[in-house]
């Protein structure tokens, strides 16, 4: 992670006129996006509108056909694959719909994994992982494997894993999509509280308005085009 911190008014991450086509289908058709440090921005839109493709471009997982993504003033597509991988391990955290925890590892090992991949010693990584499990109210699950915990508990473990490395941006793609209302709310409350406490920005892809209500503002994606709802109202 780099040391200088951008000014709050400066976008931490932005995208300009992104285009991405899969075969004959345009997934993004001129989408824009900005997020500042500490902000929670919801990306909403119907299924197939391009919101997940937008998230993947912003996170440097997918390279856009045209347009650019700037992270702390640096263009992602101009970076080497190794540099983008390092960014995803250090500066970014991820939460997906189904947790995607490693089934062979215990919950504490899963949470410690990003730190271990960045070279942390096992003992220190697991100490920090245990702290985050405590914060996400699942400290009793540390020694269980993902197959032994419920969907809601697993998702809280996934949130702990996303936060343990102190990321500047958390990408959450339908983080409550597989949960019932109560568990979904608990995950959203814990995720947004923790992100606000640590100053991390959250890009939250969701089609659920009650989930988007945990954000500070929202972007709507329709047919690959984005609309910043702050400029509408």
């Amino acid at each position: 992670m780099t040391s200088s911190t951008p000014q709050p008014s400066t976008p931490l991450l932005s995208a300009d006129a992104l285009h991405k086509t899969y075969g004959p289908t345009p997934a993004l058709d001129g989408a824009d996006f900005t997020i500042r440090s500490g902000e929670v921005v919801a990306v909403m839109g119907p299924s197939g509108s391009g919101k997940s493709t937008l998230l993947h471009c912003l996170a440097g997982i997918v390279r856009p056909d045209a347009g650019k993504v700037l992270y702390r003033g640096e263009e992602l597509s101009a970076m080497s694959d190794a540099a983008r991988s390092a960014l995803r391990r250090g500066d970014f955290g991820f939460v997906f719909q189904f947790g995607q925890l490693v089934p062979e590892l215990t919950c504490v090992e899963n949470v410690a994994l990003p730190l271990r991949l960045n070279g942390a010693k096992r003992k220190e990584a697991e100490r920090l992982a245990t702290e985050w499990l405590h914060r996400l109210e699942v400290d009793d699950l540390g020694h269980k494997r993902p197959g032994e915990v419920s969907g809601g508990q697993g998702q809280r473990v996934a949130v702990a894993r996303a936060l343990v490395g102190g990321p500047r941006v958390i990408f959450a793609d339908e983080p409550t999509g597989a949960l019932d209302s109560l568990n979904g709310e608990r995950v959203m409350r814990l995720l947004t509280d923790a992100a606000r406490d640590t100053g991390a920005a959250v890009v939250l892809v969701t089609h659920e308005a009650r989930v988007a209500a945990y954000s500070d503002r929202e972007i709507v994606v329709r047919d690959g085009k984005s609309r910043d709802m702050e400029r509408v109202a």
């Binding site: 308005a209 009650r210 988007a212 209500a213 929202e218 329709r222 709802m229 509408v232 109202a233």
Partner: protein, 174 residues
């Protein structure tokens, strides 16, 4: 909400003065819209006239006399009937929004702007309720949840209408 039935229901636990009734109502149901004293006294006068409450006692005070109201058997039956009856699901908001969307299309104004402006307003209120919910007690949470689910339903309608605007424009311009 039927204020009369709610006040009757509050009287079931025992006789109260108008002021106590207002306080009990505001505490439980009047977070956003506390009752005016005038509303309480006019409602109690109506309930009295209809035989649903009776005056159990009058206490003189420094100001006007304080009537202590008690629920009657007829009042109890009335509350019971009201509670047993389902409320009519009223799609009032959609009717207004639908009218606005059609008018926008008919007059060549931007219907998508109208829908998105409404959408932003709905989400603004949903954020406010979500914040209130996270700092409130269980009663607050349940009241906010009810409003949130309704607003969410409206938002789904707004999104669906946005997706069907071209089709609707063709229909209304026929």
């Amino acid at each position: 909400m039927s204020i009369g039935h709610t006040l009757l229901g509050l009287l079931e636990s025992g006789p109260r003065h108008g002021y106590d009734l207002k306080r009990a109502f505001d505490e439980r149901f009047g977070h956003d819209r506390p009752l005016h004293y005038g509303q309480v006294y006019s409602t109690m006068a109506r309930l009295l006239k209809n035989g649903l409450v009776e005056v159990e006692g009058i206490e003189p005070g420094s100001g006007p006399e304080r009537k202590r109201y008690a629920i009657t058997d007829a009042g109890l039956t009335d509350v019971e009937t009201w509670l047993a009856q389902p409320e009519k699901p009223e799609p009032y908001l959609q009717t207004t929004l639908y009218t606005k969307v059609v008018l926008a299309l008919l007059t060549g104004r931007s219907a998508i702007d109208l829908l998105d402006t409404q959408r932003a307003e709905h989400l603004r209120l949903m954020r406010e309720l979500t914040r209130r919910k996270s700092s409130g007690d269980l009663a607050d949470q349940l009241i906010c949840d009810h409003a949130l689910f309704h607003l969410e339903a409206d938002l789904r309608w707004l999104e669906l209408t946005a997706a069907r605007l071209d089709q609707l424009a063709t229909e209304v311009r026929k």
